[in-house]
Amino acid sequence: MRGKSLLVLLLLAGATVRAQQIEVVSPQPDNVSVTIYRDLFALVTETRTVDLPEGPVTVSFEGVVETLLPASAVATDIGRPLAERNFDYDALTPNNLLARSIGKGVTIMRTLPGSGKVAQVRATVVAANDAGITLRTDQGNEVLHCSGLPEHLTFDEIPGDLHARPKLSIQLAAGQPGKRTIRLSYLARGFAWKAAYVAHLNNTGNRMDLTAWITLQNLTQASFRGAQVQVVAGKLHLLAEENRGTSLTGDSDDYYDESSMDEAREEARQRLASELEPKDPTLQLFSGCYALPIPPEREDRHFEEMREIIVTGFRASAAAMEMKRDAMGIVQAVREELGDYQLYRLPLPTDLNARQTKQAVFLVKPRVKVERFYRFDYDVRWDRSPERTTPESMITFENRKASGLGEPLPAGLVRAFEIHGDREVFLGEASMRDKPVNLPVELGVSKAMDLGLEIDAPSPEVEEVRELKLQDRVDVEVRAFNGKSKPVTLEFRQPIEDDSVTSNSTDLFRRKDGKLVWRLRVPANGTYVLNYRVDWPLPPMDPSN
């Protein structure tokens, strides 16, 4: 009951403060478009119709996302000069309400324990802070909630600069009166999306059916009805929050690889998800009473009415949350180029509700040509001790039309499944970086089973190496053991070392991407042995020395 009457007071207070200037309120957008980025924010673009009077006017936009970044707000198509733009977020909370009531009159409502009658006493707020509320009445000075009586305050009005919800407003100069459609756009935090891929390999392991999904998430309390939703795959240059930028994970330039950036994003996403969760609006005010503690159940009852004041703001979104949980319909997104990025658009307007996760397919490619083999990377300079190890099981493909693909592939997790007899088996997963068209893709999905390697790399005695006029020499022997009933391909790779010379190899090798690559065929239930030598010559004499 009280919650309602206070809400009315709030509106009245809002109206009186802006008395000098006419205020036009736009309660909600006509149309909204949400573009979600991988960096935990979205661009919200709204169109709103307002009826402007001829004189100077303040236009207030209600129902903007609470997490909006004020500096990013842009209002266009207004048709008259814009004097200033304000974003007010002095939220109407019990603490703020009390802090603004210092020196003002309030009424203490005391419930008498025996009769249940409520006694009303007028008081002035002397001080209100985290430690308690001090009041002056006709009797003298006393502290609220320190009496042990059920008591609470009622306020005469809400200070005009406290807002139930954050408010974005623009002040316009005088101009042509009439209806106008204003476009409002702003960046808001609390949105995320990721790509995920499902690869079904066929029996022979030379083709896969690839399905790609967009999983997008709205972590905020805002719900968007009939929104145009799109996601952007791109590595944007972003600045850290502390440098007045948009990123919650620091300057994008500070990341040298994508996996650390992904980790930081995931961490920030979880942090944000819990920050944006609806909070239990419990008051923290009345802890510092000098007397014995008040039994907690009684204390709770005191706050009930206060709580209602702030809950008002949450109610709408809580109701929206319950609406349409079944809106997780599946639609296929359409790709277009946006500058140097890829943009995927959900083809139909959709409801994007508060705290909702939505999925859409953006790619279906059957029978993509793949190759499966096993791989091991060997760093001859550092890994000299004999070792027994396991190669990785790889799935590779060319992202080309000729292979049945040829589509930009945004970074994401690829989960691979294989058909064994009539059953599907999960092979493993690998994270893939952004892959433009024409680039080869290599995914290490698991460690090999029934395929082992022994590497032995002895070096001659130091005297012998010196006699050979070498800095170092190593004779590598690689023994591959295949316990499978079919032959397998093993790629053995070694980075090209400065000045090193590889010779005496028992197999052909080639250079690729700064590595030496041996492609070995290990027979079914058999072994295969590779031998080669690496020499490091002495450094040349410096003629200038």
Partner: protein
Amino acid sequence: MLIRPLLFSVGLATSAATALGADASPDREISLTIYNKNIALIEHVRPISAPSGRQRIEFAGVSAQIVPETVSFVAPNVQLIEQNFDYDLLTPAKLMEKAVGSQVRLVRVNPATGAETQETAEVLSTVGGVVLRIGNRIEVLREDNLPTRVIFDKVPENLRAQPTLSVLVNAAKPVKETARLTYLSRGLDWAADYVAVFDEARSVSSFQGWITLKNVSGTSFANARTQLVAGDVNLAESEQEWWNHFQQRRNSNQRAMGTESSGRQQLGDYYVYPIKQLTTIANNQTKQVSFLDADAVKATKGYEISFYGFQSNSDPQSVESRMRFSNSKAAGMGDQLPSGVVRIYMRDARGQPQFVGEDHIGHTSAGSELALKIGDAFDVTVQPTLLATRRITRRKTEYDMSYLVRSARSSASVVTVRQFGLWRENSVIKESIPGRRVDSSSFAWDVPVPANGEAVLTFTISNGW
């Protein structure tokens, strides 16, 4: 000596509502000069009338983030004795502590009838509970959990609801003067924010500049005369700030310094952006005022990538996409740009601007050339391969590098590949396309790459010291 406190409300004593009324009178003024280093100079001008003699004047409603040592109070015929900034906050516990040794009144309510009984008590101790003497008995307050209210006759003078600034002054005769109070405060900051809508096809970009003013000082300022100063005011810096500055210098996106003057108002070495009308800056408000609107500034897109050593990488690296423009008059802008963040937008297939990236600019004189980083290109990559190294002498090595540039874009592009990692004596021995020396520690090659195709840049560098 009797010190009479005189409440002198300089701004919003307690709330915006009273202040709006109070500040309507024309003889009261507040002016704010806000620097973009989270510091502001605040000046209150108010009439005072005071009797003669020594007295304390209190200023409620000054910024809660006042830097007290910067306060200056000037009023003709009033002599300043001392200045105080009191933080001793009025809390229930303090109220009781300060009542030790003095009398309070206890009001007890009969739960059945609601009848009140009053008693006078002396507070003996407040350590771990309140011990009282009532008549000649000693009691612990509310040990019985029965409702008992404690009433204090007065609130100690030096306990305050809010941090309060006060001055102790002496007036030789009764005065009716205009007083001027100035001080520096934290919690008020501004920066420029730019919105650039880049039209790549037409090679132009629009620029809108906004001054974004943020008030987190804890205080609202009503009808203030406000001016913003752009420039690097020297403030003692933290290590973090120094590091940020260093990073900004190192990753500068300013390619050439400008030498044009703009028509802006100057104050010493700084530029001043006055806000035309009186404005109310509420606490926790972000206010934006437009200061730049350029429709069509020439702008082009370029791809760049830098390598800081001679290494192979089996993962192709995305190239940087940059927007290059000049804030010169000839290019369509002709204005200096205060430090801030530029957010770049491009239009999607439906013509709706979409956000594509942001970059920071320093204070930039008119006529400068800038290359703002938008982001990494999805479809253009470079893969480095170290083909061979040869040690020529102990101090000189030759590197054969190959850079494979791939593009999946539907139009031809040019990628600028920049090679760092050079020592004192360096030269290019062989190159597949002519390059150029950028500075003592880098070379650059502009590699044309066809639509949906590849190009290879190879070169040999002799590097030594």
